[in-house]
């Protein structure tokens, strides 16, 4: 036990270097995080984070916000994988509209064409001003209205 002081010194030295090392890495990780954080345009989940948008096939149609819903005008949602619209947090496009149901409608692509479907909502969906029954095809410029919220389909 003649070397006890050395052992103790080594032990504390080891712990000190270890923590310094971890501190430096943690700090740089925080810095990195601040630098690369892009503002998340929606709060509906990771699945619409940048990156997933570039699914094979490419994006060629968007749902563009015209007005209402607590959304910014001209905000765009890509149609890759389809979009659910509703008041619930689980919707891809979450809208604040007292006439909207939790899961109100969905817009999706099938065989190169676009469709909107009302998901048995309480107050219904308007397609170009007319009540939508079940699903209907959407073409470029069509408007979809849910309560006081209006969207427009834009095809590239």
């Amino acid at each position: 036990m003649a070397y006890d002081p050395i052992s103790v010194a080594l032990k504390f030295g080891f712990l000190a270097v270890l923590y310094l090392f971890l501190l430096v890495i943690a700090r740089s990780a925080f810095k990195d995080l601040r630098r690369t954080t892009s503002p998340a345009p929606d709060a509906t989940g990771f699945h619409s984070a940048p990156g997933f948008a570039e699914a094979p096939g490419g994006v060629d149609a968007w749902l563009v916000v015209e007005r209402g819903g607590g959304l910014e005008r001209d905000q765009r949602f890509d149609l890759i994988g389809g979009l659910s619209i509703g008041r619930s947090k689980d919707s891809d496009v979450q809208i604040e509209d007292r006439y909207a149901s939790g899961l109100h409608a969905r817009v999706f692509e099938r065989g190169g064409r676009y469709f909107v479907e009302d998901m048995n909502s309480t107050n219904g969906t308007l397609l170009n001003g007319a009540t939508l029954k079940g699903e209907a095809e959407l073409i470029d410029g069509d408007t979809v209205q849910i309560g006081d919220t209006e969207f427009r389909l834009e095809v590239q």
């Binding site: 052992s7 080594l10 971890l22």
Partner: protein, 446 residues
């Protein structure tokens, strides 16, 4: 940016080598009461190996995450010092495995530069992963350790297939969910306020659940089973953003695990030991109790390197005070010798690796890369949780290794392959993030 990234890696490797040297010096000082230059030689060797890997990364993956490799090297350093302190010859083996692991690491980077190719062979990869997972039950080559079928022994070589199949299964799940995440989201319905995945796409979820339950019964290993299923849920959550899926999955696992814990004797016994270790303190409960005592004995700063007791002094035949110290309970030994601060340090290393790994996933530009990075990080961190949780009696103790620290060739080698994949994803993601064109395109939509 490029050289900056790698310079940071180089700078981080220096303290890692210093820590290894200090660790060895402390062990030597304790064991032979003399301070030679052997620890410096070992430290230099270690640094040389890390430096070679670093130079390789500088050439091959100049933009990859700079801290993942140093963090994992630090874990290896911890492992080498601790294993050396238990048994010199085991440490020599471990050092060889470390070098072999780095060779495989380099080969993976060399041949899987376009890792999308993995997506094309996903069913083959999944099949191989599941087959080797079942190999321990085959007569002749299977090995049963403490009632669980975890090892395969062919001639002098033995390995733990679960370590490799975890990577295979993550690759498969990442690829599968990349393709099917859309249908899982769009087809989801709300029933009684719970979002349920569409019934026909519920199938794969049931298959994975079935597979992990099957592992529980067939391989009798709760740890691996938990590790695989938790990684799956993490991937499912990231792919769909639906927390309800995770809750449903967890409920399914708990129900299944509870059922088998009451019907399969081996699993039942493990749970019994976990809940009531004092029923048989000198038999079944010995390992977990000694593990906890060792940790408590460490105090705040530990007893110092080489000062913990692993075998009972003067006992004939030699009896272990801390059973399986080089594998299952290596974490307890670290806590015993470095105390609460050392323990927090080790856990911090794993947390930082997890943070870096998820960061890689955040930066990645395509679905497969995102999910692959997430899955690999998740399975790695959960493995650490399963064994640390096991020796601290948070969950039943199982024979999963502490990644990069525990003694074991399969574990080291497989985890270096995992690291290689993570760095491959990271390199591409960070390179694309630097080029603004690709980045803007990705951000413009949403």
């Amino acid at each position: 940016m490029r050289s900056g990234t790698r310079n940071r890696e180089l700078a981080a490797l220096v303290p890692v080598a210093l820590l290894l040297t200090a660790g060895f010096a402390a062990v030597f000082a304790q064991e032979s009461s003399r301070l030679g230059n052997l620890s410096v030689i070992y430290g230099a060797y270690f640094f040389a190996v890390c430096l070679a890997t670093h130079i390789y990364l500088r050439i091959r993956l100049p933009d990859a995450d700079p801290y993942l490799f140093p963090l994992m090297a630090l874990l290896t350093a911890f492992g080498l010092v601790m294993i050396y302190r238990i048994d010199e010859s085991l440490a020599r083996d471990q050092a060889n495995w470390f070098v072999l692991g780095l060779v495989l690491f380099a080969l993976t980077i060399q041949f899987l530069r376009d890792y999308e190719i993995l997506e094309r062979y996903r069913y083959t990869i999944a099949a191989i992963g599941l087959l080797i997972l079942m190999a321990p039950r085959l007569p002749g080559i299977g090995e049963q350790v403490n009632g669980a079928y975890l090892g395969v022994k062919v001639g002098p070589l033995s390995f733990q297939p679960a370590e490799f199949s975890k990577i295979a299964i993550v690759i498969f799940l990442a690829s599968y969910l990349r393709e099917n995440r859309e249908v899982l989201i769009v087809g989801a319905r709300r029933i009684l306020g719970v979002t349920l995945p569409p019934l026909k796409h519920f199938g794969p979820m049931l298959v994975v659940w079935g597979a992990s339950m099957f592992m529980l019964v067939f391989i009798r290993d709760l740890g691996s089973s938990l590790m695989f299923f938790a990684a799956f849920l993490a991937l499912l959550y990231v792919a769909t953003g639906r927390f309800s899926f995770v809750v449903i999955g967890m409920a399914m696992f708990v129900v299944g695990a509870w059922f088998f814990a009451t019907t399969v004797p081996h699993v039942h016994q493990r749970v019994e030991i976990w809940l009531h270790p004092y029923h048989d303190p000198r038999g079944a409960g010995y390992q977990i109790l000694q593990s906890i005592f060792a940790q408590a004995d460490g105090g705040l700063f530990g007893k110092g390197f080489g000062q913990g007791l692993i075998t009972i002094p003067g006992a004939h035949p030699p009896a272990a005070l801390l059973p399986a110290a080089q594998t299952d309970t290596i974490y307890s030994l670290i806590v015993n010798e470095l105390g609460l601060f050392g323990a927090c340090g080790v856990i911090l290393i794993y947390l930082l690796i997890a943070a870096r790994g998820f960061k890689v996933a955040l930066l990645a530009n395509d679905g497969f890369s995102k999910l692959l990075a997430t899955g690999l990080t998740a399975v790695f961190s959960i493995q650490a949780f399963v064994i640390i949780g096991g020796v601290t009696r948070v969950i039943p103790l199982t024979g999963v290794t502490l990644p990069f620290v525990s003694y074991g060739g399969s574990s080291i080698v497989a985890n270096f392959v995992l690291l290689a994949l993570l760095l491959l994803v990271s390199d591409r993601a960070r390179r694309e993030a630097v080029q603004p064109a690709g980045r803007d395109l990705a951000l413009g939509v949403t």
